[in-house]
């Protein structure tokens, strides 16, 4: 054990003698590997905060679904299941392209990295455009909560809660997607400038983690919002 410590100290002394120094190695780290591990750990921790961030809304959703099953069923049926399923497929596809982008960076294929990231962004854009049309339809039907809200039948009150949660959850998700889109643009630019090597592609990897997380949120949002009671059990 003490040999390992001494050996490490010796190796470190060689480093501080400032011989070989990878240009992407930041000065407070001892090695690229340590830096990479720190970066990925940091991103996973950030994603943990995001799980809890959305989690509060999932709590509200769960509670009110238990209290108001009929309202939930009626309101959910106002959403377009075809568009929702399509968007789910689009996002899963964008996760695939993102995974390929990381793989391309890992294997040093600069141009392929750019292409896969651009494809990811394109799919993300498709998602957002579909969302725009869905929101537009909600506005037209007066399903946006607030003074102009209108819903037929006795479930109007709880239905307004449903739509509040719908807009909060999908709105928050869409905001994260837009941020992801911007991040992807930056990464695509860096890849275009040939910044990444098989030794250092960390930004691609951690951006990928973020993008997959946004996909996972939608994987939960889709059944929770669109598939509440399509079989007509409660109403």
């Amino acid at each position: 054990m003490s040999d390992a410590i001494a050996a490490h100290a010796g190796a470190h002394a060689a480093h501080t003698a400032h011989a070989v120094h990878h240009p992407d190695l930041q000065h407070h780290f001892d090695s690229l590997e340590q830096q990479h591990e720190a970066a990925t750990l940091g991103m996973w921790l950030f994603l943990i905060t995001e799980v809890l961030f959305f989690g509060g809304l999932f709590l509200a959703y769960t509670l009110y679904r238990i209290w108001y099953p009929v309202a939930w069923a009626e309101a959910s049926r106002e959403l377009d299941i075809v568009l929702g399923a399509f968007n789910t497929a689009v996002l899963i596809g964008s996760s695939l392209t993102m995974a390929f982008a990381v793989r391309a960076a890992q294997t040093g294929k600069q141009r392929a990295t750019v292409v896969w990231i651009l494809l990811t962004m394109a799919l993300g854009l498709v998602f957002l455009i579909v969302k725009y049309f869905e929101y537009k339809e909600k506005f037209e039907h007066h399903h946006v909560p607030g003074p102009n809200f209108a819903f037929e039948g006795p479930q109007a009150g709880p239905a307004q809660i449903y739509f509040s949660l719908y807009f909060l959850m999908t709105g928050l998700h869409a905001t994260h997607m837009i941020i992801g889109f911007v991040i992807m643009a930056v990464i695509a630019w860096m890849a275009h400038k040939k910044r990444f090597t098989p030794e250092w592609y960390t930004p691609v990897e951690i951006s990928g983690l973020y993008w997959h997380f946004v996909d996972i949120v939608w994987i939960f949002l889709f059944p929770l919002l669109y598939l509440v009671d399509r079989a007509g059990h409660f109403a």
Binding site: A9, G56, A60, Y64
Partner: protein
């Protein structure tokens, strides 16, 4: 005789304003936090003074009821979010953690700087809300008053709190990765100073809890602004849902406030008893236990809010469970001092004061945790006294103990030990006089958050207000001699306390990059038995 060139330290390394505002050095960032947090402390203290001035007489003669509501709200907001949460982690933690680990900096120095800017921006939003009308919902922002009825700056304050939360998240994230990945060779987990264990536990809470208040405050702001209605009883919403979401963070938040000061106390007691902390691993695991269990008890703030009594039973039981690790730590600190070679310097005085006051605070928490008792004392001054004993008597005293302990390392100067002890005694006396009577007031039935009270409560209130003025004198005294030490203090030397720990092996103030050569650790923490130092 030639004058030797001054040593390079992180303070004189570069002098420009830009070198401070664009620094990535964790030590400078810690100092920048110190400046803002101190400002927030005095702001919160100002509001507290208004409260105690009003409450010196039974009638509402100083300010109107609405203004009084704003005073206690803004006192709470300033103290909770801008003092207690960041004080030890962002000031002392930022400064000391990499030194304790033998590292050159934290894992993400740029994120560290960002966390400071985010903190400042959140603070500015909140101050803006305060000066343009204030907010009167209580720092707890309960719905439906905050979402429907209050016509004060709820959204702006909420936005300030939301932004500041990200500062907390970034700090916690940074600390966790730093502790996992940047320890010096030989520094295994169980050789770490207990301050590191407490910072890690705190970081866990920051990362897991803060996002929930973020979404809660965001949902509240949107409800107010866009009239979305997830808390609105008129359309079938549950206002108590807000309380569940709010306290899911805000209870663990009190552990963010107390765990780092507890860690500082461990360091101080070990150093000034010349002994290893009794039951090191128990204390380490207790920190983790407090962090985890702290997430299981939040609804004890909702006992009388309308939750089911079965749920209340569960949370009451869990609340008793979370007291156990804190008790373990308290016993272990006392056991450390037993048969130790006690060296009564200023940090130790603050630490001993902590022990007594935290004990009272913790025990009175057990009173409030009992369902039947809480029905009687909820929303009375008993609760106010309980949490001030913990937060001021505990957290602030612990913060001061740490500040006095590491001040020589941070500044390279020694403050006046006599004045520091005098201040500690003044603060201790003032504190007890302020908050001791409040237990009685609460038990006798005086409700909190009222600017008037029945005349029979006046004597105790006057005692409390008198105590508050003594407390203020004590705090101002601390500021004076600490600042004076920067200009007139003696050189501290590398290790004025002859303490163990990697931070004391480097110069005071430290180099910009902390260590000339990366240290290698071969001994356990707190190996005082191997040191023979004659202490004068």
């Amino acid at each position: 005789m030639t004058v030797p060139a001054p040593r390079e330290t992180y303070l004189n390394h570069e002098h420009t304003v830009a070198s401070w505002l664009l620094t990535k050095d964790h030590k400078r960032i810690g100092i920048m936090y110190l400046v803002v947090v101190t400002m927030a402390f005095f702001l919160g203290g100002l509001f507290a003074s208004m409260i105690r001035l009003e409450l010196a007489t039974p009638a509402g003669d100083l300010v109107s009821a609405d203004t009084y509501n704003k005073m206690f709200t803004m006192h709470g907001v300033a103290m909770v979010f801008f003092v207690l949460i960041p004080a030890v982690p962002a000031i002392l933690g930022n400064f000391v953690l990499p030194l304790m680990l033998g590292a050159k900096d934290v894992a993400f120095p740029k994120l560290n700087l960002l966390s400071w800017y985010v903190f400042v921006i959140g603070f500015l939003f909140t101050i803006y809300a305060m000066v343009t009308g204030g907010v009167d919902t209580g720092w707890t922002f309960y719905t439906p008053y905050s979402s429907r009825a209050s016509n004060t700056n709820v959204m702006m304050t909420g936005l300030g709190v939301f932004i500041t939360g990200f500062s907390s998240i970034l700090t916690g994230l940074n600390f966790m990765v730093t502790i996992h990945r940047m320890r010096a060779p030989g520094l295994t987990w169980f050789r770490l100073p207990l301050f590191v264990w407490s910072l890690y536990s705190t970081a866990l809470v920051m990362v897991l809890g803060t996002p929930v208040i973020a979404i809660t405050v965001l949902a509240l702001a949107i409800e107010r602004f866009l009239h979305f209605g997830i808390f609105d009883p008129v359309i079938g919403g549950d206002p108590v849902l807000f309380q569940h979401m709010f306290w899911f963070y805000s209870h663990p938040a009190v552990y963010i406030m107390i765990l780092p000061p507890m860690g500082a106390i461990s360091e101080v007691i070990a150093t000034f008893s010349r002994k290893s902390i009794f039951g090191y691993s128990f204390v380490a695991f207790s920190s983790l236990a407090i962090a985890v269990f702290g997430f299981l008890v939040w609804a004890h703030h909702l006992f009388v809010a309308g939750i089911s009594v079965y749920s209340a039973l569960v949370f009451s039981f869990l609340t008793y469970a979370v007291a156990i690790p804190s008790a373990v730590k308290t016993f272990n600190w006392a056991a450390t001092m037993y048969r130790g070679a006690i060296w009564l310097k200023a940090p130790m005085i603050w630490a001993i004061a902590f022990l007594g006051l935290f004990l009272v605070g913790g025990l009175t928490g057990l009173f409030t945790a009992a369902l039947g008792v809480d029905v009687h004392i909820h929303d009375t001054y008993f609760v106010v006294a309980h949490f001030h004993f913990i937060m001021v008597g505990g957290a602030i005293m612990g913060y001061f103990a740490g500040l006095h302990y590491w001040w020589p390392k941070i500044t390279g100067k020694m403050y006046s030990d006599i004045w520091a002890k005098v201040a500690a005694v003044i603060v201790f006396v003032g504190f007890n006089l302020t908050f001791g009577p409040q237990f009685l007031l609460g038990y006798l039935g005086m409700p909190r958050r009222y600017h008037v009270y029945p005349p029979e409560f006046q004597v105790l209130n006057v005692l409390s207000s008198a105590g508050a003025s003594i407390l203020a004198v004590g705090y101002i005294l601390v500021a004076i001699y600490l600042v004076a030490s920067i200009f007139y203090g003696e050189e501290a030397g590398d290790n004025p306390w002859h303490a163990t720990g990697l931070e004391w092996t480097t110069q005071s103030p430290p180099l910009p990059h902390n260590f000339e050569v990366q240290p290698v650790v071969t001994e356990e923490a707190y190996e005082y038995s191997k040191r023979e130092i004659k202490v004068v």
